[in-house]
Amino acid sequence: MNWSSFSDFLAMGGYAFFVWMSYGVTALLVVAEVAWVVRQRRQSLARARIQRNIREWSSP
């Protein structure tokens, strides 16, 4: 273990701003991308379903 306390860990030896800006923005981007991909997947299925319903209703 490299840190004596949790606040010590957060302080990052005085480089807290740089380290946490790097890790924070990376985490944010990863979370955003995962959310985007999940949404993309759900939308693709929903759209395919709508298209199919349109086809079924329009054909006798």
Binding site: G13, G14, Y15, T26, V30
Partner: protein, 265 residues
């Protein structure tokens, strides 16, 4: 063997394969991220020269590697698309690009926040940073080209040509930027170039592995969405929709549920 591979080159069968594989890659990414962060942020000692600012290395270097590597993989798919004329190839290139661009951006961003304490400036025209910036431009070019072509088949083929032209140019760009950099005697300090402790190297490699697995997981889920979108009129998508519960409960698909584990990051 060849027959086996070409079977999965059809979007319909790749859809199933990707769905089965994605959760495993997502799980591997989540586990590796946790292990890598534990090694990098908790176990690894403070660097005697740079203090704790060096800990940015655990995302900066893996992001730069994966950003570069993803472009090469894209070019590989693009070449396969040109040679074998498979529809899946273009879809894979399309699915990989956003994640590659994201990692390239992360490499630039963390490079800036590492550069400030190390070089005293957020941006220096260091050869590696500059090449990464140009790589980011190449990703933006691909995404912009795709976005302005409505016909997906034309977008696939145009994107393949652009990606291949880009990948041929990457070594030239890298060499020219390096040459330019040495002539102008820019910042030649290489943080972390001194002999690295084994723990640090291990943390970096584990994080690179995590980023790699993450890229595979995300692009597999994304390619599934692209496949459904493009093949919505085909019979197999209709069967797929029939097989699923009528109300599409979120998280029912393995790929989606698995990649949620990434939020631990």
């Amino acid at each position: 063997m060849a027959i086996h591979w070409f079977k999965y080159a059809s979007p319909a069968s790749f859809y199933g394969l990707a769905g089965r594989l994605a959760p495993w890659f997502a799980a591997a990414a989540a586990v590796a991220t946790l292990v890598g962060l534990y090694i990098g942020l908790v176990l690894a000692p403070t660097d005697f020269q740079q203090g704790d600012s060096y800990r940015i290395i655990y995302i900066h270097v893996p992001a730069a590697w994966i950003g570069m590597f993803t472009y090469l993989v894209m070019a590989g798919w693009a070449a396969a698309g040109v040679v074998f004329n498979t529809r899946l190839s273009g879809m894979m290139v399309q699915a990989l690009a956003p994640t590659g661009a994201m990692f390239t951006f992360v490499a630039l961003w963390t490079g800036a926040f590492w550069g400030r304490p190390t070089w005293g400036a957020y941006w220096v025209w260091d050869a590696r940073l500059t090449s990464t910036l140009i790589l980011f431009f190449l990703y933006i070019g691909y995404i912009a080209l795709r976005a302005s072509i409505d016909d997906p088949r034309r977008a696939d083929r145009a994107g393949a040509v652009l990606t291949l032209v880009g990948v041929v140019n990457i070594p030239i760009i890298y060499f020219s930027v390096k040459w330019w950099n040495t002539l102008h005697q820019g910042a030649s300090v290489k943080p972390g170039s001194s002999s690295m402790a084994t723990v640090m190297l291990a943390g970096m490699l584990v994080m690179a592995f995590a980023a790699w697995m993450y890229t595979i997981a995300v692009s597999l889920v994304r390619v599934r969405a692209i496949i459904v979108e493009r093949e919505q009129h085909s019979a197999w998508v209709g069967e797929l929709l029939d097989a699923r519960a009528p109300d599409d409960a979120p998280g029912t698909s393995g790929g989606v549920a698995g990649s949620k584990g990434e939020k631990a990051r």
